[in-house]
Symmetry: C2
Subunit: 320 residues, 2 copies
C-alpha cells in the first residue's frame, strides 16, 4: 500500500502511532503539535521538537550557501518553539554529510548555525555526525514556556479571528524562481526567519491557539480546525502578500495566493484571538493581519473568494 | 581542505565548536560526552542525546528488516543515556524516507521502534517526517539521572581498572559476514541491544567513568583518556569475545580482536572502577570483564599484547 493511498504524511503518522500514547501525567502534549510538551517546573513546561532538512527537498546546493543552510535548520526549529509561546534554549545537531565534504563547507555551515543560534539565544550542546550520499541535517531543540502562555493548535474558540504575522508565500515564490532559473527576490526562500520568542510570547498573551506556517496557511488552519474541533472561514483577499511575492508570481505566471495557501516554510505565526483582544495586541505588536474567523464545526472549513464559498486544497505534503 | 586532513570526524567537531561553549550554569556537560547534561530538579539532571542512522552506512535493506532498523535506532540512543548512569524517558523520531515507501514498511519499522521503546520504558512523543533518496532515521532522546550517579567520560582516576560489559566485536563480525555474503551468526549486527538502565545504574554506583561502545573499545578508551587527562593500558588477551565472533572471524580470515577494538555498535558499557569495588559490583552485576588499567597521563595509551607494549589504532571514524 502506498502512503498516498492512505492520505499522505499526516495520515501515515496518525496510523502508525494510533493508540500508542501512554497514560503519562508528565506528557502534557504528545504527538500532534509543533512541539511535545512535558512537565518541567512549577510554573513552566519543557518544549521538545525536532526538524529534519534533506538536500534537494528543503535546500539545494545549486543555490543555497552552506551558511544559509545552517541558518535555515536552526530557524525552522526555533519557529516550532516560538509557535507554542515558548523560548528556545538548547540544541543538538545531527548530520549526514558526504565523505568528500570540505572543512570549509562545514565551517560556513556552522557560521550560519551559530549566527541564528546566537540571535535567538540558543546554545548548541551536542549532536551526532555521520555520512551519506546526500546532505541531511536534523536539529532537536528544547525550550521553556510559562504554563499560562502555552498555546496549542487545539485552543481555538468559535468566534475567534484568525490572524497571521508578516506576509505569506515568499519562500515558495523564491523557490519557484530558483527552480525555473529566473532572477528575482529569493531571500525569503534562502534565508527564512522565525519570529522571535518575544513576539511569540506577546501574541500568546492574547491568543487562544497558535501554529507556525511550515506547510502553507491552508494546512495550518486545517490543523487548528481538526485539533480544536471547529470550522473556519479564510478570507482569500485578506491573505497578506509582499510586493516581492506578487511580482515573482507575475513573472512566473502563478497565483501568489497559492504560494501563501499551499506553499511552505514561511515560518510566520497563525493564531486565533478573541475580536476584542485585537486592539490590545496591536498596541504591543502590530505586524499581523486578520485573515478569517473560527466557526462552528458544522460549518466546516472553507474559503471566501470573490464573495463565494470555495473549497480549500491541501498544504504541502511530502507524500501526497 | 578534506575532513581526513584535519584528523577526521571528532577533530572536525572540535574545530567547528571550539570556543563556542557559553558560560551557562544550566549546562553541566555540553559537547563531548554521550549526552548533554542539563540542570533539571534538585536531585536529578536532564540528559539529552541524539543519534542518526543512514541507509548503507548503519544498515542495509539487503539484510535488515524494517523492524530491525526500528529497534536499532532506538537501542543506540538508549545506550547513550544508560552510559551516563541515566534512565531514558522521551523520544522524538525524525525520518527521511523514500517517496515510494510502502505503508507496510513503515508499520514494521514502527513495530520494532515501539518494541524497543516499550522494553526500555521510553515514550515516543513526536517527530518529523520528510523524504529523500536514502533512508535516514534520527532519534532525539531525553533521560533522567540522579545527580550522584551521573558518570562521565572525564571521571577516570589513575589506578582504576578498565572494564567492559558483555562481549565485543559481535556487531562488526556480523556485518562482515553479511557484506561477504557468508552465512553465520549476524544477530549482534542486525539486532544489537543496549544494556538496560537498571544495569547502567548498578554499575554507576561503583564506577568513576563510563561510556558506551559505539566505535570500538580503542576509540572509547581513547575518549576516556583524553577527557580524564589520564593514560591507560588495554590488556589485549583479556578482551571478551563471544564464541560466535571468534568463529565468524575464523571463517572470514580476520582477527576477532580487531572487531572488538576497532569495530562499532556493540552498545556495551566501558567503565573504570577502583579495584576494591570490583567484588562489590560483582555481587550485583557480574556480566563484565577487566580489560585494562587507568595509568598516569605520562604513560600514554597502549596495549599489552603477548607481553609487549603495542600501539593502539583508531576506532571507526566516518571520515578518517
Amino acid at each position: 500500500m502506498k502512503i498516498s493511498d492512505i492520505g499522505g504524511e499526516f495520515a501515515l503518522i496518525e496510523r502508525l502511532t494510533a493508540g500508542k500514547n501512554k497514560q503519562d501525567k508528565k506528557v502534557i502534549v504528545g504527538i500532534g503539535d509543533d512541539c511535545a510538551v512535558l512537565h518541567h517546573t512549577k510554573n513552566s513546561y519543557l518544549l521538545f521538537t525536532t526538524d529534519m532538512m534533506v538536500e534537494n527537498d528543503h535546500f539545494s546546493l545549486k543555490w543555497s550557501t552552506p551558511k544559509q543552510i545552517g541558518m535555515k535548520i536552526m530557524e525552522c526549529n526555533v519557529s516550532d518553539i516560538v509557535s507554542m509561546g515558548g523560548t528556545p534554549t538548547y540544541v543538538l545537531l545531527s548530520m549526514s554529510i558526504r565523505k568528500d565534504t570540505s572543512v570549509e563547507f562545514m565551517e560556513e555551515f556552522y557560521e550560519g548555525l551559530y549566527q541564528s543560534a546566537d540571535f535567538h539565544g540558543v546554545a548548541l550542546i551536542g549532536g551526532d555526525s555521520t555520512h551519506g550520499t546526500e546532505y541531511v541535517f536534523n536539529i532537536a531543540m528544547l525550550g521553556d514556556v510559562e504554563k499560562q502562555f502555552l498555546r496549542l493548535r487545539s485552543g481555538a474558540k468559535v468566534g475567534d479571528l484568525i490572524c497571521v504575522t508578516g506576509t505569506l508565500g515568499g519562500s515558495t515564490a523564491g523557490l519557484k524562481l530558483l527552480l525555473k532559473g529566473q532572477s528575482g527576490y529569493t531571500k525569503d526562500h534562502l534565508e527564512p526567519k522565525a519570529r522571535t520568542a518575544k513576539e511569540g510570547k506577546t501574541i500568546a498573551r492574547y491568543a487562544h491557539a497558535m501554529i507556525d506556517v511550515s506547510d502553507g496557511l491552508a494546512s495550518e488552519v486545517r490543523h487548528i480546525c481538526k485539533q480544536s474541533n471547529v470550522g473556519a472561514r479564510i478570507d482569500f483577499e485578506k491573505i497578506p502578500l509582499s510586493e516581492n511575492t506578487i511580482e515573482s508570481a507575475r513573472v512566473l505566471g502563478f497565483d501568489p495566493y497559492d504560494f501563501a495557501l499551499y506553499g511552505g516554510e514561511d515560518f510566520q505565526l497563525v493564531f486565533t484571538i478573541k475580536p476584542e483582544n485585537i486592539a490590545k495586541l496591536k498596541e504591543e505588536f502590530s505586524d499581523f493581519t486578520v485573515v478569517g474567523e473560527v466557526l462552528g464545526k458544522e460549518q466546516g472549513l472553507y474559503m471566501l473568494k470573490n464573495g463565494k464559498k470555495t473549497e480549500i486544497g491541501r498544504g504541502y505534503d511530502h507524500f501526497a
